[in-house]
């Protein structure tokens, strides 16, 4: 008889049966079950297949370290591969499937790998599959990739939602076992802000599997009492189903709460998982200890289980491990299991104790005890049939249907090592302990190698008192009365190399790393524990070595005749247990991946039929199609022509706008721009060119002087944020002596360009002041009253298009209304809205540059505006580094215009420029096209380009080479100004 549910006992509710399915088979468990306990309760011992040899595997643990019982649960967008059956709560309708087997868990073809094992030793793949080279991608690798991997993930979108939150506390307690609860009560009663979390569905940790009594209460009732009191304390928050996965700088802990992973149909108003970012003044790690396996032949046969897990299934879930059980232990914990089994009526074939002098704990059971013996081999394929016990060289076979093993306990110290501290080996405890003096984090209880309920309760209470005392909070240590039936587990003597092993003795169960693999790695010089890990993949499975690292270190140490201290550990890194993308992402995905920034003219643009396009976080109007227009080009051509003939209105609200005040503002601009600003008169605007300290162009824009010490500056849309940071750096850090103040007013103003021959006429109709050419000439700027004093705005006579043009800024809320007024006023004059596509055509025709040209590698001379760089200013950002030979090398790429030889030809941005008849080689590469458009004005495609000595090659025929699109266009270099180079129109 194998694993089965007992008629009574455990913390499950037998009145609440839950039906679930495993590989399509319908089974029944109870509320309070884990998927693992429910499977065992149904006698389902075979739970999975191993990674490499596809060996049958059973449930090994009852917790987070489970390497074998990984299953795929859920379906469609809720499919979750590699779910640990030991951590998954059972719920009505749960669907679980086994993984990495074909055709079925019972009959898995992949198991033939077991026969090939001699040739599949550690790192065998580094030594073969090399000939012929081409077969790697074609044959070997696809096969390996198909064979590898565990579960299958879905491509479907996740129907559920995820949250994130921040939390602050005086004391964070990780682990709600006896230690943690004692700490929480101590700190909570003292009024400290406490958060205590536990990865399991139920708080209590090991106490939930204990049969001892505390202050007269059963361990389970004791836990309930603690939780009841904690719930009554407003300053304490208890989080179950919550795993602290990482310890980060600043004492920030990352934790994930599985809010609705235990229900069939999640409530849509709540997340399925919540990411916690907990900022803790102090933290206590009460995460317990992990029992370690023993490395004997066939230690992976289903039916072999960790002793503490067997005890947990028995006491917490009322599941007995068959009728005839053996226990193989190196320490006293095996005996507490023995007592519980016997009380549950399970026959114990033998307790095999590797110590000659055990047991010391109060064991009054009547099971046969083999002292100084070992289990050298376990037998059976899909379930355990017998074990070989070896003592004093004599071996004996025992028929058993399950075997509990305990190689001692290793404190769970992962989090304590996430910030660079190295674990230290302790010979006394035969375990790795957390580094000392962790700033802001302490360990207590089993996580600190303390054993026994009483000792852990005391340790937790004391630790809490000490930690909050550092915060100036005085606490009285909680005490809980006498503990009856406490079993103090003396540290185990390490038992690494077990004699008489015949079959494979597994170290890393999931990755199928066995003892011979480790020996081979050592033989081949991969002796450093990091090399051994990487060569054999030991510790790289989903349990991250929770059950395999210490044994591997021990075996390496024994083989090299040194102490585990000398071998050291591999690095503990986040995450303690795997964390889903969903929880790390929270709500920021899909359309909400990034916030949306809307122009004050957004709705106006939509009302006018704009096609909107992402531009950074903004949406901008690309063009305004009209009925009957067959493509975007037709709309854009119309908009461009209309600006040149009548007038157009374009939303430029996304430009960065900065108000600069202070008596030294002029001097400030003089230093941040490379051109001169000291003499800019009030009421005037000026184009400004901003360099980086390395001499290259950073950004450009216009700055207008609105008052003696009040300026209005614009930046490009793309650089707005960066420029503001830069200016603040200059003002606060470089020149604090300057009286200058900066305010971002980008969002305060709706700003629109009105461009075209009829712009003035149209504008004048809504402005209260004269804007004739005399009264308001090119580059004039002023505050102005609109519509009979209804509104104050700002008017700038600036032209990006080369036309008579103005930029009008009005308070953002009025943007739509003013734009409507202008459209109405301009109706008779043929005004039309135009978008960024037309804007781009107009500026290319005029030869104006944008960040297509200002790409971070150009200097003013490259764009033909070296004259703007002031020669007589003592200082400005970028002045000194601009004077490097490389920055005026005659071979630099210079701005130039490009046209196709045949007006019917076109070319695109990103094409390169080759000399006519030159062969297409990198040596012959002479530059590239930065901007292109179809120019209605010219009647063909035109472009701007950065070309070697381009400025001096106007009229030269070249080839526009776009090999990646297989387009080769004969063209000619020309003046980059295609339109009104005399600037008559913008002055008109």
């Amino acid at each position: 008889m194998t694993f089965h549910r007992l008629a009574a006992g455990g913390l499950i509710d037998r009145n609440k049966p839950l039906s679930f399915s495993f590989d399509g088979k319908t089974l029944t468990g109870y509320e309070g079950d884990s998927l693992a306990s429910a499977l065992l309760g149904n006698g389902q011992v075979l739970a999975g297949r191993s990674f490499k040899y596809h060996r049958p595997r059973g449930i090994l643990t009852a917790g987070a370290a489970e390497p074998n019982a990984l299953m795929t649960i859920g379906r469609a967008g809720r499919t979750e591969p590699n779910t640990r059956a030991t951590m998954q709560e059972l719920y009505e309708g749960l669907e679980a499937k086994s993984q990495n087997r074909w055709p079925s868990l019972d009959v898995d073809i992949g198991a033939v790998n077991g026969l090939l094992a001699p040739f599949l030793g550690a790192g065998f793949y580094y030594k073969t599959f090399m000939w012929p080279a081409v077969l790697w991608e074609r044959l070997y690798e696809p096969f390996i990739r198909r064979a590898a991997g565990l579960g299958r993930a879905t491509y479907d979108a996740d129907p559920d939602t995820y949250d994130k939150c921040w939390a602050h506390c005086d004391l964070l307690i990780v682990g709600a076992g006896g230690t943690g609860l004692a700490a929480a009560l101590t700190a909570g009663r003292a009024g400290a802000r406490v958060i205590i979390l536990d990865e399991h569905a139920r708080a209590g940790g090991g106490l939930l599997c204990e049969r001892a009594t505390i202050g007269g209460w059963s361990a389970a009732s004791f836990v309930s009492n603690c939780l009841a009191e904690l719930a009554s304390l407003p300053n304490v928050e208890v989080l179950t189903r919550t795993t602290a996965f990482g310890w980060y700088d600043g004492n920030v802990f990352g934790a994930v709460e599985r809010v609705q992973k235990h229900v069939h149909e999640p409530d849509p108003s709540r997340p399925v998982e919540r990411l916690w970012r907990i900022i803790a003044k102090q933290a206590l790690l009460a995460s317990g200890a992990e029992e370690q396996p023993l490395i004997f032949g066939g230690n992976d046969v289903p039916g072999v289980m960790m002793a503490s897990a067997m005890r947990s299934y028995l006491n917490r879930y009322g599941v007995a491990p068959g009728s005839n059980v053996a226990i193989f232990t190196t320490n006293d914990s095996g005996y507490s299991l023995a007592g519980d089994l016997e009380d549950a009526g399970v026959t114990i074939a033998a307790i095999i104790d590797s110590r000659k002098d055990g047991p010391t704990a109060a064991y009054c059971g009547n099971a046969r005890v083999v002292q100084g013996g070992v289990v050298s081999n376990a037998h059976g394929r899909k379930s355990l049939s017998s074990i070989t016990v070896l003592k004093d060289g004599r071996s004996e076979d025992l028929r058993v249907n399950s075997l509990a093993m305990s190689g001692g306990f290793s404190p769970v110290i992962h989090l304590a090592c996430h910030r660079g501290g190295k674990p230290m080996w302790s010979d006394t405890h035969a375990a790795f302990l957390a580094p000392q003096d962790l700033n802001g984090l302490a360990l207590a209880g089993a996580a600190n190698a303390v054993h026994g309920i009483q000792a852990c309760l005391d340790a937790g209470a004391k630790a809490a008192t000490d930690l909050i005392a550092r915060l100036g909070i005085a606490a009285k240590q909680a005490s809980f009365g006498v503990v009856e039936g406490d079993i103090i587990v003396r540290p185990a003597r390490p038992l690494w190399k077990i004699p008489g092993v015949k079959g494979k003795a597994f170290i890393d169960f999931q990755n199928d790393v066995h003892r011979d693999d480790l020996n081979l790695a050592l033989r081949e010089g991969y002796g450093h524990i990091e090399h051994a890990k990487r060569y054999t993949t030991n510790g790289m499975a989903t349990d991250q070595g929770k059950l395999s690292n210490v044994n591997a270190i021990g075996l390496v140490a024994e083989a090299s005749g040194v102490s585990p201290a000398d071998v050291g550990t591999t690095t503990f890194r986040p995450f303690y247990t795997p964390v889903s993308f969903g929880s790390l992402t929270g709500p920021s995905h899909g359309k909400h991946f990034q916030p949306v920034r809307k122009s004050p003219l957004h709705d106006w643009a939509k009302r006018n039929g704009a096609v909107l396009v992402e531009s950074g976080l903004w949406y901008r109007s690309a063009w305004f199609p009209r009925p009957g227009e067959k493509d975007w080009r037709e709309s854009v051509d119309r908009e461009v022509k209309n600006v040149r003939i009548n007038a157009g209105l374009c939303d430029v609200s996304t430009l960065g706008k900065i108000e600069v005040t202070g008596v030294d503002a002029a001097e400030f601009f003089n230093r941040i721009y490379c051109n001169s600003f000291l003499k800019l008169p009030v009421g005037k605007a000026r184009y400004g060119l901003m360099l980086r300290e390395d001499g290259h162009i950073y950004d450009d824009g216009t700055t207008s002087r609105l008052g003696e010490s009040r300026y209005f500056m614009t930046t490009t849309t793309a650089m707005a944020a960066g420029v503001m940071n830069h200016l603040e750096f200059c003002a606060q850090t470089l020149w604090p002596e300057l009286d200058v103040r900066l305010a971002s007013v980008t969002d305060q103003w709706a700003q629109m360009t009105i461009a075209g021959p009829k712009a003035r006429t149209i504008l004048q109709t809504i402005l209260d002041e004269d804007i004739s050419n005399e009264a308001f000439p090119y580059l004039a700027a002023k505050e102005i009253s609109l519509c009979g004093g209804q509104l104050q705005g700002r008017l700038f006579r600036i032209s990006f298009s080369g036309e008579l043009a103005y930029e009008l800024a009005v308070p953002a809320g009025y943007g739509g209304s003013v734009a409507d007024a202008l459209m109405q006023a301009g109706k008779a004059h043929g005004i039309q809205p135009y978008g960024v596509e037309a804007l781009s055509v107009l500026r290319i025709e005029k030869g104006h540059v944008t960040h297509n040209e200002i790409n971070g590698t150009v200097v003013p001379a490259d764009l033909g505006i070296a004259r703007m760089v002031s020669a007589n200013k003592a200082d400005f950002i970028g002045k000194k580094m601009l004077l490097r030979e490389g920055l005026d090398d005659p071979d630099r790429l210079l701005l130039v215009g490009v046209m196709p030889l045949r007006s019917t030809d076109s070319f695109r941005s990103g094409a390169h420029i080759l000399a006519k008849d030159a062969t297409a080689t990198l040596e012959n590469d002479e530059g590239h096209v930065t901007s292109t458009c179809y120019s209605p004005h010219i009647g063909s495609t035109i472009g701007l380009a950065l070309v070697k000595r381009g400025a001096y090659r106007h009229g030269e025929d070249i080839l526009v080479w776009n090999g990646i699109r297989d387009e080769y266009t004969p063209g000619r270099l020309c003046d980059p100004v295609f339109f009104d180079s005399a600037n008559t129109k913008l002055h008109g």
Binding site: P81, N82, F119, K127, M130, A133, W136, E137, I144, R146, A148, G149, L150, R152, A153, Y155, D158, Y162, L275, E524, G525, Y526, H528, E530, H531, Y535, T537, T542, T571, R573, P574, F575, S580, F581, L584, T585, G586, S588, H589, G590, F593, Q594, E614, E693, N852, N855, G856, T857, M881, R884, G886, R908, G910, H912, A920, L922, D925, N962, G963, I964
Partner: protein, 416 residues
């Protein structure tokens, strides 16, 4: 012993008892012709090519920890040669060509796997930039294809095409790009160099550089003084620290870059894909783990660990690109220390000291560069002149204004 299917078979029959160490564990000799500081990918590759290409075998590689303990031991395994600037592009293509013959060359299967690298673009501006880059590659004979949205969708239907904040417009594809089993690169070069007589000395930290008459005489180490004719530094991540021993101040900051691996999955994604609307790139290892990363944390660091904020940003970009990732669990994160140079490009050059050579500033592009870096550094050390493909990686380019700034970010390392 030579590795082959046959040797694996025969040794298997003999219970794998006869395999020999992949490299010796020699004690340092008092003097070497060339000492390489840094037993990472670049140092080991340099030693290998010094021996193989130039017959210089009196070489020691000094490693303060275990070989491959730097970035060759913790990266996202990507190889590509999709560079823009003429100073970079031929070098990385040389590297790609070396990758393509590497395993047969050093008789170690590093699983060089050319399953393609696809860079997504989401705007006209990005498309134009990739067009320019793709053309630069084509001009040098490097394979490059520009895909439109439909083509990308045919290739990777599971990307977010229908609900994206920044819709995918297309991508730049280099089919010859791919991944390599990173540790194996270090081991393969180590074994290859060792078999040619190079001494690989682990747990030997360089603590000082002894100079005599304006020359390097040798190095002080935790295992004593070792003299040499030429000293070559390949300690990326710690270049500034090592160079300081020779009194040299570098245009480099050390930054931490995080990377991640998911639980093992059945084949999910074939090649390498990079997101264009956020910092995220992903591939899948042959073992089944999704290997991915994002941007550097953004501040100087020598701690090989990162910040939770960056982890979240990476995950957000990942799910934005592939909604199906939502329920995939991330197994492990780690951090590597990057030599972030002031223009985003590396340095392979001589220094103020006649017999001191420098290999540094790899930013986060060092892994793919390993073969060419070793090849060109060996060339410089052996011949005294730069290899033609690495001629632009000069140390004085910052003073002279001949920068190699692929991103156009200027002297701001955390933006490269």
């Amino acid at each position: 012993m030579r590795y082959s299917a046959l040797s694996v078979f025969l040794n298997g029959l003999r219970g794998n008892k006869d395999w020999k160490p992949a490299w010796r564990q020699p004690d340092p000799k008092p003097h070497y012709d060339v000492i390489l500081v840094g037993g990472g990918g670049h140092g080991l590759a340099t030693a290998y090519y010094l021996a193989k290409e130039h017959g210089i075998t009196d070489v020691a590689v000094l490693e303060k920890s275990y070989i491959g303990s730097g970035n060759v031991g913790r990266n996202t395994t990507i190889i590509r040669s999709n560079y823009l600037l003429s100073g970079n592009n031929p070098f990385y293509e040389l590297s790609m060509k070396l990758w393509e013959g590497l395993e047969q060359d050093f008789n170690f299967n590093a699983m060089v796997s050319q399953r393609g690298v696809l860079n997504l673009y989401h705007s006209d501006g990005q498309r134009d930039a990739y067009t320019r880059r793709g053309n630069a590659m084509r001009l040098y004979g490097v394979d490059a294809e520009l895909l439109d949205s439909a083509a990308v969708r045919r290739m990777l239907p599971f990307l977010d095409f229908d609900n994206a904040r920044f819709p995918i417009q297309g991508g730049l594809l280099q089919r010859r790009g791919g991944t390599v089993r990173h540790d194996a690169v270090g081991w393969g070069y180590a074994r290859g160099a060792d078999r040619r007589g190079v001494d690989i000395i682990q747990n030997c930290e360089v603590t000082g550089i002894r100079q005599k008459d304006g020359q390097v005489a040798g190095v002080e180490t935790t295992r004593g003084f070792i003299a040499c004719n030429k000293l070559a530094l390949a300690a990326a991540g710690n270049s500034s620290r090592v160079a300081e021993m020779a009194g040299i101040r570098l245009p480099i900051e050390s930054h931490v870059l995080q990377a991640f691996v998911s639980e093992g999955l059945k084949p999910f994604i074939d090649g390498v894909v990079t997101f264009g609307a956020g910092h995220f790139y992903i591939s899948q290892s042959d073992k089944g783990g999704l290997v991915f990363g994002g941007d550097i944390d953004g501040y100087n660091s020598y701690a090989q660990r990162g910040n939770l904020t960056t982890v979240e940003h990476v995950a957000e970009a990942g799910k934005a690109m592939i909604p199906g990732l939502s329920r995939v669990r991330v197994l492990r994160s780690w951090g590597g220390i990057m030599d972030m140079s002031m223009d985003g490009s590396p340095i392979i050059d001589r220094t103020g000291l006649e017999n001191l050579y420098l290999n540094a500033g790899w930013c986060y592009g060092g892994f793919k560069a390993t073969p060419a870096s070793g090849f060109c550094f060996a060339h410089l050390i052996a011949r005294g002149v730069p290899h033609r493909t690495a001629a632009a990686f000069r140390l004085d380019r910052f003073a002279r204004g001949y920068l190699l700034d692929e991103k156009g970010q200027g002297a701001q390392p955390n933006l490269h």
